[in-house]
Symmetry: C2
Subunit: 329 residues, 2 copies
Amino acid sequence: MRANRADDKVAKRKPPPPMQFGADQPLWAAWLYYEEGLKQDEIAERLGISRASVFNLLQKARDEGIVTITIDPTRLERADLSVELKEKGGLLECYVLPAGGSAAALYDRIGRLGARILEQKIENDDVIGVAWGRTVMSLSKALSPANKPGVTVAQVTGSSIATYDFSPELCTSNIAARLNARCVNLHAPGVVSNPSMKTLLMQEPIIEQHFTLLRQCTKTLFGVTHLSGPTLLEDSGVMTEELLLQYQKKGAVGFASGYFFDPDGTIIRTGFDDRHIVMPIEDFINVPRRICIGGGAEKITAIQGMLKAALANVLITDQDTARSLCRIL
Amino acid sequence: MRANRADDKVAKRKPPPPMQFGADQPLWAAWLYYEEGLKQDEIAERLGISRASVFNLLQKARDEGIVTITIDPTRLERADLSVELKEKGGLLECYVLPAGGSAAALYDRIGRLGARILEQKIENDDVIGVAWGRTVMSLSKALSPANKPGVTVAQVTGSSIATYDFSPELCTSNIAARLNARCVNLHAPGVVSNPSMKTLLMQEPIIEQHFTLLRQCTKTLFGVTHLSGPTLLEDSGVMTEELLLQYQKKGAVGFASGYFFDPDGTIIRTGFDDRHIVMPIEDFINVPRRICIGGGAEKITAIQGMLKAALANVLITDQDTARSLCRIL
DNA sequence: AGCAATTTCTGGCAATTTTCAACAAGACGT
DNA sequence: ACGTCTTGTTGAAAATTGCCAGAAATTGCT
């Protein structure tokens, strides 16, 4: 395919033989560049291509994950703010995103941090329960491809009718896809019309089976939502303003992984809970590592309540939010 | 400590507040640079320091292993030459170093490749038997620091009196040190003066214990030596020319992990074997992953014999050697 | 406190990398 | 066989990074 047709027409082709490399050019270029420290020119010369092509090759290698640049996230854990927040918030682990980064949306930046941490923490037989949210979605997109066939990713809440770009199904399947893990979606609506329907549904073998799986979760991953102003809960069609108001009247300030709570961490319930298909909170609390990811000024009170309720074990947030939380906790 | 003394003498200090970052500046810089893709200028601005300092910070981060750049070695395994050699050589795995790299010595370059592969393959409870050789020594130096407290690194051959810079002790302890693993040296001479001394020594509790440990090896790591011309065996004072000649007369062409063999893979023995303190070959062959590392034109026949003798399971070599081996196998 | 040694930081220049717009080659439909 | 679209390549310009030698700050010592 790449045979020498130097004797075809004009013989003014490259005089040095282009060096018979294996098929995987990006890999070879990457090795010579990153491991042996050659300049792009030198590689270009050896491969018989232009500098620019070497650059493209290297870019491809980075994109395809042939070369990976990793930052040791345990360092982020050791940073002073993380330690303070970890102690004040009663957490097992806490990671704080440096302030002053790129202009990208905060949830994308926190999501990326979460991705790096998750990658590093995943063990082979993990069962990961995934809730939903914008930040969780960002995380899923920022995950670098990996091969973890022993891992199971399971959906924690039921699905929604409305299609929006960070639905429970999408979050779950995205993460599973990146990880090359088993993906177990919950094939049931997130909200049903009346309590007896919930009871019936929960008895369905397939659903029951799913909740049995969820009980084996080793990790869960979820975001937090605040309740005041326009929220994701309404936008996504999960709830109506009216229902939300009922929770707020009872003092709820936040919502995470399916439960509402007030700033003191008391779980708030209304009739809605009886129609909401979600992992029971007793089971949820038993999961060893419950990772909450999210940040932003609006969410501070919500996160405070979430921490008091001890829904999360591990918190991933940004510097400003962390500082505010440290002040009020 | 870093308080504002802007009102001390001259007020021409930095007007923008230097941004209150955590203590670990290199880490923050690294995150912003590698994860968020900011330019060094932008980071300098946000941190209130000069570009050059950001550069230094990043360098420090790289040096200290806060950021790591890795190449997925499994790709090298999939390269066409590797696959061919793996099949022809009856190997479990085979890795081939790209040709045309830096001008560094071949054993250093192969050692680096070996280091990357070893890092990636090490599991938590491994017991790694380490023989000696220049390439193994290079590997040990190229290993990046890791924390594997569950790993044991054990010396496969006895030590030598002469001190040279790639002795069994050094290879073993170097590797263990990099890995933060347990280091078990064999506190016995590599060669004793007569067979009965070997018998006696092997009965010593400490030695016996060591060989029991070796029997539990999950991996071994060793190089190959050719026998013609000036060899490491003589240089290191392990053997005399005369002894070597005895092996060569019987057809031996190579030496690896303590055994001599001919090109067909038959193990060659002389009286020397009865004075050589080394892991018994029956035990050696039982180790699940036997990693041989080495390359170079001189070694081709030796590697051929080594492969035929099935001493190795996994081979790490360079492109030229791999091509030659494919031709003759 | 005063001075010298040492460390850390900086400005600017050189080298390297990245981008870009134009161009060549192959694939495809007509 | 012809244009057209896609894909990949290139040289040169623009941007970014790497480096060094001198400046500032810090430290250690008397």
